[in-house]
Symmetry: C2
Amino acid sequence: MKLNTKTRYGLRAIIEIAAQENNKGILQKTIAETQGISVKYLDQIISQLKAANLISTKDGKKSGYQLTKNASEISVYDIYKAFNSPLKLIDCFDSEYSCAKIPYCASHNYWYKLNKQIIDYMESTSLETLTKDHKKLTKNNDELMFYI
Amino acid sequence: MKLNTKTRYGLRAIIEIAAQENNKGILQKTIAETQGISVKYLDQIISQLKAANLISTKDGKKSGYQLTKNASEISVYDIYKAFNSPLKLIDCFDSEYSCAKIPYCASHNYWYKLNKQIIDYMESTSLETLTKDHKKLTKNNDELMFYI
DNA sequence: TTGTAACCTACTTATCCGATAGGATTAAAA
DNA sequence: TTTTAATCCTATCGGATAAGTAGGTTACAA
């Protein structure tokens, strides 16, 4: 029960992309510096966000990433799925691995409900919400820095 | 984001222990057979339940396991913790691994809330509830079998 | 004193994860 | 047209962890 780093970094990266002002595109390098992630590692992370069709870019020099759709249409679960297969806390949710006892298995039902609850949580939050939070928090931070 | 097999098997095993009729103690062997788990593997699992002080037994021949307290006083999270360290979806919940940006990190807050929600879910369900479910389900199963 | 069950510890194997590395491709800029 | 700076793509390495196996020791009832 751990979140892998790619998902963690990936969410932070896409928030950075969503939070840019003029929407002209933001560079890998910039994100890496802001987030303190190695450029090379972020490289892979961003390519997975792209493969999931959540962000887009132009090739070559002077490029930069943007969202492919409105932040309100992207859920955290969408982002999660860019780095993981659909959430299955246990394998026997899947018919392929299921055992004959499932209809009589209290544990199975219990974990299944938890699984659903986690997915619901991630689906019910949009990137827009997190980006707003992010802006609020960093704004406060800037003001704070000003007075120090 | 996977539940490990020990937690999965462990829950099933302790339900079996809680569900026994006369409370005279149930043998590893019996649990292993009912649940279809290798005796040797279950051996380790049960020893972890015991180390967590959830079940007790006598040594030697003619032994058998019981709960150390009432099933209503044991939460699923107690059982979870017999096989895992306290749930931390990401390391930086911990002050030891925390970074300076946490107060301004929207992602951190988000995962933290999910983490709490999962713990709440596991804490709010008692072994008693699951055992009742189990009995209901297996009862139906037996009746069903009778008519086949 | 013998058989059975719990108890304890070590080991093997496989898989996944985080991270690094090197180079290919593309397009803007010089 | 050449250079430069960025994305893009693939391979690989080391470490950690997990699942399961195995062997032997201890305790107790018959």
